[in-house]
Amino acid sequence: MTLNENEITLTLNGESVRAWAPSRMHAADFLRQRLGRTGTHVGCEQGVCGMCTVMVDGQAVKSCLMLAAQLDGAEVRTVESLAEENGDLNALQQAFKRHHGLQCGFCTPGFLMLATSLAARGEPMSREQIRDEISGVLCRCTGYEGIVRAVEEYLQLQQNEGQVVEVEA
């Protein structure tokens, strides 16, 4: 820690952490370099590619557009939090695997976090809507087909599970 670094306290993937960051460090670099969560990637630092997408207080955000200091007090989720407690891939990750939604995998964490936030909305979505909604993250490898199929399947699954819960309640 040096003098011009700020202290930041946040909840990261359910765990309370405290760290320091220079004032001009953006949140993506902070997560990667100071907190060691390298699953979040950096592709443009311009807010265009979406590689740095994480969830902050339940919303998908491009973390290269935020300063590290803005994470103070926030609840942050990164790709490292997705797998089940027993180590299995979660339903979204499994859908990506089944539908070949990744090739080089560099964009994958961004899409996974975006899809997780879409599912949290709990609204049904058409393929067209999904295509629009995920257009903030780029993929240069897959042509998007596998990603769209995976997200569609996952959202449907979440919908169905949501309905089951409602019926039970």
Partner: protein
């Protein structure tokens, strides 16, 4: 829609033993091994590699397209606290040699491309100084403090203008003009046939400059241990062994001192094919400082510092008789290589496939490689093939219109038939096998071509007119022999290699120099290896992209990986299997002929009770205990394999567009791709490769372009905001169909598949627009095609008809 339809099997053209076997794993969509780590954020891309006491590098770049460097003053940068080391061109010249080229154009001089500019820079973005500091931000601050006095020089950014008399010369010490080299191939008497032909069409076709744009930029981490004389390099590359070779040449140290590893690579597409200046710079800094040095390219740098793709101008001539039979073809094309020779070198595939899938014996091609004051152009998916396909296939449709013929019928008339193959093209390359016509007919049928042709071109209720365009292609995948490459000046081989190693857990380590760049080679290699050995897919663990552990190889490019590796895998797996059976049989007290490998066991063919675990067999081998006396200990095999020839993929695409004849607005409503990649090792992966490449091809056809300002020579579309790659919402509905004619020249009959999708989109869309706007007399001669260019073509057509009427 969207289905990967299995077409009825084509007539088998070979009697290879493999095909008579029923495959257990080859041909099945095994889920990918790579996914487990990548989905968890556990990939290890270059920027994820971190060392204690690591320093960071930033690079100062020339802001002009062409400038003399008069002076450099680094004193203020060195005073900044935290700055550790600065390099300028002078030191780089003392400490290193110029970058070498993997595939120099025969006859071209080696240009003195040092890692930092010497007396002048020849493109915007060329490295001029580099700084290492305790953080990247500080290194960038230091760059700002370096005073560089430039004298801007006259520049040239157009490849044709660069070759004209009086153009500013880029490298007068090495070259008397801006022509780096030229070379040609020919067969028959094309000029005489053109002279005598009934119809001759000539056209200049331009293909724009694009960027491969992998989502992970380049990066390098260099660690030097002087006492050990070991330079360890982590870098984002498709070719670790070739980077090692080129680094050794530039750093003037032995290859044995260098270890290059590429763990996960976030896409390459041809762009990460060889050494770059920053790899040399990070190494020099690390060697001077004895501390790890990291450089990660930022996206703004990437647009200027990483090689671009495509830009070329094709002057085609297509001659036919009155029936439309092609009698001769010539293509003189100029490729723009930019300010220096790129690490891989200029494309030459345009010369190999310029006659397309057509029967034309009299043909000539001439390649001219021009230097301009722009970022060097390197390999990009398809590398010369999308370019030449656009030029030729647009011209074929133009000939059809001129003769009043149906474009489908004209293609049918001229296409090579299965019985014409093998067919030798002017470059000497041989089309191996295939049924080209079948893919053409399948594509036409899929879009209901006949019904469309029969109906009038009238606007729909939304004002748009429908058009259908075809584009047929043959694609060279893999390389012919090393002998063929030698004639073309190549500094790499045509082979692939693999090492298999048994371990005590009863599993097999598979070592390959091919890095994981998204092509799923880990999965496909394990499939083939497990298939031949008879073990479970999960029993094979692939270790990729580390020169310290893998046998020397060539690398992941030119759709060649699987073609060559399939052979190496088979050659390594067969002796591995035989020894496993001998040792297992010995343990069981049976004859080796009676033993089979199944799952994690060796067992008696007919007696399931006689079984021994692989862990036991492999342990015996490793210890040298409990094995026959005439066997040596250890169980490890290495094989190098060079395919006897290149395999040619082929197919046809059909685009359906709807265009507004007033505004030029258009959309691609359907895109059908019929493709043959021989035997698909993993159909899911094949579909992913074809789709991904198609979307890149569609992007380049419909809008991606790196534009340079004609006056200032500056890059205009050099950021993610200005350069639009397709987003999920931009992709038209794509339908894939395939046929499966096994290649007779490759192991298991595979053909390459990684690049093919980039090839046909441009021509198919141009032809569809011309079809829709047939009544307007619109022509296209350049890519990309945007609503604006359609509108301009409509204006031009109107003016010319008005002019003719007046």
């Amino acid at each position: 829609m969207n289905e990967f339809v299995e077409a009825p099997a084509a007539p088998k053209e070979t009697t290879r033993q493999e095909e008579s076997l029923k495959h257990r794993l080859i041909g099945t969509s095994v889920p990918r091994t790579e996914d487990e780590r990548l989905l968890r954020g556990d990939g290890r891309f270059t920027d994820d590699v971190q060392f204690a006491h690591q320093l960071e590098m930033a690079v100062g770049r020339c802001p002009f397209p062409h400038a003399r460097i008069l002076s450099i003053d680094v004193s203020r940068a060195l005073e900044l606290e935290g700055v550790k080391h600065v390099l300028t061109g002078e030191q780089v010249r003392e400490q290193s040699a110029p970058l070498t080229v993997l595939r120099p154009v025969p006859g071209a001089p080696q240009l003195p491309y040092y890692a930092l500019a010497q007396d002048k820079a020849t493109y915007e973005g060329q490295p001029v100084v580099s700084v290492v500091a305790v953080s990247r931000a500080l290194a960038e601050d230091a760059i700002e403090l370096i005073e560089i006095e430039y004298e801007p020089l006259p520049h040239v950014s157009d490849a044709i203008a660069a070759l004209e008399e009086g153009a500013p010369l880029l490298h007068p010490q090495s070259l008397a003009s801006n022509l780096l080299a030229s070379n040609g191939d020919r067969a028959g008497e094309p000029e005489a046939r053109i002279e005598a032909a009934d119809v001759v069409l000539r056209s200049r076709m331009r293909i724009g400059r694009v960027t491969p744009l992998p989502m992970e930029t380049r990066g390098v981490v260099a660690v030097w241990r002087p006492g050990a004389r070991e330079l360890s390099i982590h870098t984002s590359t498709q070719v670790p062994h070739l980077v090692r070779k080129q680094l050794a040449e530039s750093l003037r140290i032995g290859e044995e001192c260098i270890r290059v590893s590429a763990s996960d690579v976030g896409g390459g597409f041809g762009m990460k094919l060889g050494v770059y200046p920053e790899d040399v710079l990070a190494s020099l800094h690390a060697m001077a400082l004895r501390r790890p040095v990291k450089w990660i390219e930022d996206r703004m740098e990437h647009f200027r510092a990483s090689t671009h793709g495509r830009e070329s101008i094709h002057d085609y001539c297509l001659a036919a008789d009155a029936e439309g039979r092609f009698v001769a073809m010539t293509n003189t094309y100029t490729t723009d290589i930019g300010g220096w020779n790129s690490p891989f070198g200029s494309s030459q595939l345009s010369s190999v496939i310029f006659t397309g899938p057509y029967r034309v014996a009299d043909a000539a091609v001439e390649r001219r490689v021009a230097m301009t004051n722009k970022t060097p152009v390197g390999a990009y998916r398809g590398y010369g093939q999308p370019e030449v396909n656009f030029a030729l296939e647009v011209l074929v449709d133009r000939l059809a219109r001129k003769l009043g013929k149906d474009p489908l019928a004209l293609r049918e008339l001229n296409m090579l038939r299965p019985e014409d193959l093998p067919w030798t093209v002017p470059s000497g390359a041989v089309y191996d096998s295939g049924d080209y016509l079948r893919t053409l007919r399948m594509a036409a049928e899929a879009v209901d071509y006949a019904a469309h042709r029969a109906s009038p071109r009238v606007p729909r209720p939304d004002g748009r007119i429908l058009g259908i365009g075809l584009s047929s292609f043959v694609e060279r995948t893999g390389y012919a022999s090393a002998r063929f490459l030698a004639n073309r000046g190549s500094k790499f081989g045509a082979h692939e290699s693999v090492t298999l190693r048994a371990n005590r857990s009863g599993t097999i380590d598979l070592y390959t120099g091919v890095s994981s760049i998204g092509q799923s080679s880990e999965t496909a290699f394990a499939q083939i290896c497990a298939e031949v050995l008879g073990v479970d897919f999960d029993a094979v663990r692939v270790h990729s992209g580390d020169t310290a552990s893998s046998p020397l190889n060539t690398g992941a490019f030119a759709s060649r990986t699987l073609i060559a590796a399939a052979g190496a895998l088979r050659e390594a797996a067969l002796p591995f299997r035989d020894k496993t059976l001998r040792l297992g049989a010995w343990a069981l007290g049976i004859a080796p002929e009676e033993a089979v490998i199944e799952g994690y066991e060796v067992r008696h063919r007919d007696d399931a009770d006689k079984r021994v675990p692989l862990s036991d067999v492999f342990s015996r081998a490793i210890l040298g205990q409990g094995i026959p006396h005439d066997e040596t200990p250890g169980l490890e095999t290495t094989a190098h394999f060079e395919p006897p020839s290149a395999a040619f993929s082929f197919g046809t695409a059909a685009a359906v567009v709807a265009v507004d004849p007033e505004t030029g607005e258009f959309s691609v409503e359907r895109f059908v791709m019929v493709h043959d990649c021989g035997v698909a090792v993993n159909p899911m992966i094949v579909e992913g490769q074809v789709r991904g490449a198609l979307v890149q091809g569609l992007g380049a056809a419909l809008g991606e372009e790196l534009r340079y300002d004609a006056v200032t020579g500056q890059l205009l579309s050099g950021s993610m905001l200005d350069y639009a790659v397709p987003r999920a919402a931009d992709v038209p509905p794509i339908e894939l169909l395939h046929t499966e004619v096994p290649s007779p020249v490759t192991t298991f009959g595979v053909r390459g598949v990684g690049e093919v999708g980039t090839i046909p989109p441009g021509a198919a869309i141009a032809n569809a627009l011309c079809d829709a706007l047939a009544d307007y007399g619109v022509e296209f001669s350049a890519l990309p095609i945007t609503p604006e260019s359609v509108w301009r073509a409509l204006q031009a057509a109107r003016e010319s008809t008005q002019g003719a009427a007046a």
